[in-house]
């Protein structure tokens, strides 16, 4: 009987040891500040909570994986949507977590956060640095906040639209694209938050970029068969628009061939004279003429490339390749002529870039 009791005790002890809680992962004690380089935001899989933030130094080609997790001992969240750099604060919008993080751009440390958001998409901060806006996909309400304290200060209702997406600021004007199930751009006065006007562009204005003359470039994806578009609005071919931000007139409209698809948002180079995007291939458009080139800058293979940006400091082109979308992606770095300079592995579904000054 004693022997049996002994065996039982050993058995239970084994089970107990196996059930102990693991020690918590310790964050790096003192995060090493980055000197320049580029942040890469990886969306992660929707519903999995595995978005991640990576850093790449093009000088040393050093890649720092999972910056947020390492520095803050926490998960970034579900669907890394976009990033916005203001002074030394990096705003990271995590869409399906309903949160915007403010990080120290040099280290990745959390400075604060704005939570309780329904479906945050993008951040924009006005010229004074005293007011920030957060767009939301599922509502026509912009959330306003104080970038210095990260306190929510109110909301702005956009009349006549159903959603809000990417934003661009020109002087005291805020241009807000209504992408999801809409076809309009709203203009606000950033001082008063009054709606100045709303104008129509193509169906589902997906992305915005400003050139050196403050022309607003808009790409519209045209919608798809399951878009819940307003009455009277039909699905159409994708289009690229050049809008005068003074009189809101369209100065140029290029309609893409039927069946074309956009894989990336618009990216403007540092000089504001060349517009880049991926639509079946990588295209570079001279904003002075606005003419669509006959040949692409780069051809792309597969279907994974859906993120693109340009380093404003040297013109290098960064393409995010999500590969098969179910495993880690990669980033390809090209110079402005299209010569491949480097390729490195990043997390699941890379899509956005932010470039730091040295």
């Amino acid at each position: 009987m004693k022997k049996l009791f002994g065996i039982f005790c050993v058995f239970v002890a084994t089970m107990v040891l196996g059930g102990c809680n693991p020690s918590s992962t310790n964050p790096d004690d003192q995060p090493t500040p980055f000197e320049g380089g580029v942040y890469v935001l990886c969306e992660g899989s929707f519903g999995s909570g595995n978005a991640s933030l990576w850093h790449y130094n093009p000088d040393t080609k050093a890649v720092t994986p999972d910056v947020f997790g390492r520095v803050n001992n926490a998960m970034l969240g579900d669907v890394g949507q976009s990033m916005y750099l203001y002074n030394n604060t990096l705003f990271v919008v995590v869409n399906n977590s309903g949160v915007v993080y403010a990080l120290d751009a040099n280290t990745g440390e959390v400075l604060g956060l704005i939570d309780g958001l329904t479906s945050p998409r993008f951040v924009a901060i006005d010229g004074s640095g005293a007011k920030g806006y957060i767009s939301q996909m599922y509502t026509n309400k912009l959330i306003t906040f104080d970038p210095r304290t990260l306190a929510k200060t109110g909301e702005v209702i956009l009349d006549g639209v159903v959603s809000s997406e990417q934003m661009a600021i020109v002087g005291d004007k805020l241009f807000v694209a209504s992408w999801s199930n809409d076809h309009k751009i709203t203009v606000l006065n950033t001082t008063t938050d009054k709606q100045l006007t709303t104008f129509t562009v193509g169906v589902q204005p997906y992305s915005l970029a400003l050139d050196k003359r403050n022309n607003l470039w808009v790409v519209c994806d045209g919608g798809n068969a399951w878009s819940s578009l307003p009455e009277g609005v039909e699905v159409e071919d994708p289009s690229l628009w050049k809008i005068n931000t003074e009189n809101y007139k369209a100065e140029k409209v290029h309609t893409f061939a039927s069946g074309s698809y956009f894989r990336s948002r618009l990216a403007m180079n540092g000089g504001g004279d060349t517009l880049y995007f991926i639509s079946d291939a990588v295209w570079a458009v001279d904003v002075a003429t606005g003419n669509f080139p006959s040949e692409p800058l780069l051809s792309v293979e597969g279907y994974g490339q859906y993120g693109l940006d340009v380093n404003p400091y040297n013109g290098d082109l960064y393409i995010a390749d999500a590969k098969d979308y179910v495993s880690n992606g990669a980033v390809l770095r090209y110079d402005s002529t299209g010569k491949l300079l480097d390729e490195f592995e990043v997390g699941l579904l890379p899509s956005k870039f932010i470039f730091l000054a040295k």
Binding site: M1, L4, F8, F11, V12, M15, V16, G18, G19, C20, N21, P22, S24, S45, G47, S48, G49, N50, A51, S52, P65, D66, G69, R70, N72, A74, M75, L76, G77, D78, V94, N96, S97, G98, V99, V110, L113, D115, G116, L117, T118, Y138, T139, K141, E155, N181, N224, A225, W226, S227, S228, Y303, Y306, D324, Y325, V326, S327, N328, G347, L348
Partner: protein, 658 residues
Amino acid sequence: MKRLLIIILSSLLLCTQICAQQSDTLRTVNIDGVYVWAFRSLRDIGVQKSPLSSQVLTDNVSASMADVLAKNSTIFIKSSGRATLATASLRGTAPSHIAVSWNGLNLSSPMLGMVDFSMIPSYFIDGGEVYHGATSVGITGGGLGGAVVLSTTKPQTQGLDVHLVQGVASYDTYDEYARISYTTKQWGTSTRVLWSSSDNDFEYINRDKFGHPVERNKNCGYNDFHLLQELFYNTPKAGRFSLKGWFTDSSRGIPRLTVDFRNDDLTKAWQDEHSFRGVAEWANHYGGIRLNARMGYNHDNIHYIYQFSTGGGQVQRSVDALSTSDIAFAELNGEWSIGNNLMLAGNIKGNLYNVESEDVAPLTPIGYKASREEVSAFASARWKPTAWFGAAVNVREEWRDGVWSPLIPALFVDVTVWPEAAMIVSGSVARNYRYPTLNDLYYTPGGNPDLLPEDGETYDLGIESSAGNERFKISGKVTGYFSRVNNWILWVPTVKGFWTPQNLQRVVSKGVEARASAEAKLPNEWRVEWRTIVGYTSSVNATESSNSFGNQLPYIPLWSASSALGVRWKEWFADYKWQYYSDRQTSYSGTSFSGDVVEGYALNDISLGRSVELKNKVCFKVIFDINNLLNREYQSVLSRPMPPRNYALRIECRFGQK
């Protein structure tokens, strides 16, 4: 807590005081522990199967088949907690690669191809078997990983038998179960009712969020109702007839992610499900011929809603999807024993599927309607020329919507190498196919009607043995396997913004499954039972051109194990259960940064109980459970919290049996 403890102790003491006649009463007999000292039957030649004993099925009224399979087989259950979607993976394959049936009725969703095991209460199942790998060919086609066969049977007791169970557990969890049966030699009726509800809002340290706040699990309450009515009629000449109807009404919240920062209560997702499953069965034997015929119908209606707050108390639904499926089936099984050495068996089964799926959240609703007709025929010859050798050949052929499948063959061999220790070496080899689900083919948007079926081959080699006497018994079994699945279907995004399934991958799985059990009857009415299951599963993407070539598949643990130790003394009993899963990848990446891996964990549960029987044949049993005894922080699915240490008290009452 103190109050709960007082209630428990009082209940146990009360049992002691009212005990008028001490005997082994409510503890169900463990049929898994029955030892067969003869050679294996013809029917089981080469078969790799794990029986689920009546003891484990009726162990806990709050348990679903997800819990039973996780703790009593090498099946890995992926779940976000109690009453949440629980899918199963066997031998490193996908949830859609396990064929699941209830009294012959296919439970796998024709749209998704898989089963939510959390929707099957274990108290509604009287017998279950897990068929591993090649063995599933004898049950159905498409079970590339295996098959789970669940059944209900006529009550064993004659006359009136009433079984009531009341469960109260942490987080406002209540389980009520009742079974009333009346059985004669000729007739039988059985009614089972189960109602479970819970707030399920446990508190946990959220280590996924910055600052690691203490939070509550949100939006995860549930309310499940099940009713099972069965009628049995036996005649000496015409055979045995039965009618079974199972109705389910369920409403469940979908728990929020740990990384969800939305603080309103209006943004949430939930799912309502209503289903009815009915089966009529006849069975008889004519000399050496056994015949069995079944027909049935399965109606399932699932309403999934995801809504979000738009401010000011207003909500908008981004998903409002209704999925309806209807399945009708008929089958005939036959076995013909020719002498003691040869058995011929055959089966033909027809299934008719009708499905409709529609999401009405968009202004223009999206969805599809589809139907499928299929017939599956099976023939088997089992031959045992000598006492130590047996072989079986199975052949299955399937027809779907006018298209014949390639032949599905399987070969099984048994060699008894040491009769005194019942040591048998068995092996099998089989080819199998799984056809795309209706969602794979027709879902809008993205369905791909050009998909090819997944085809696989699997090889098994196992050895088992058992020995013992009246007082001590021990048994063990080790099986190694290798399987390959080509044309593995994977949903991938398109440039058009939606996902579509493609025959992208080749997956190679290999591993070892081991089971051991022992039982000892000791002096002074002590009894000890022990069982352990260990699984090693290497399941990797073998597509060389793939970005994730060589990586372990998501949510397939390399190691899994479970163990249970039961000690009985007169009417008292105590059970200790342990369960372990190693780290699991959350994607095909193969890296180990945060979010890439869900950390492995071991769980410990303990139960203490006492049963008593009164003079008037009224039996009581009181059981107190502590789950997650060591308060382990863990996740089964990334970003989904699991409950810390929690408690349950169950009181069972049974009367009326002869």
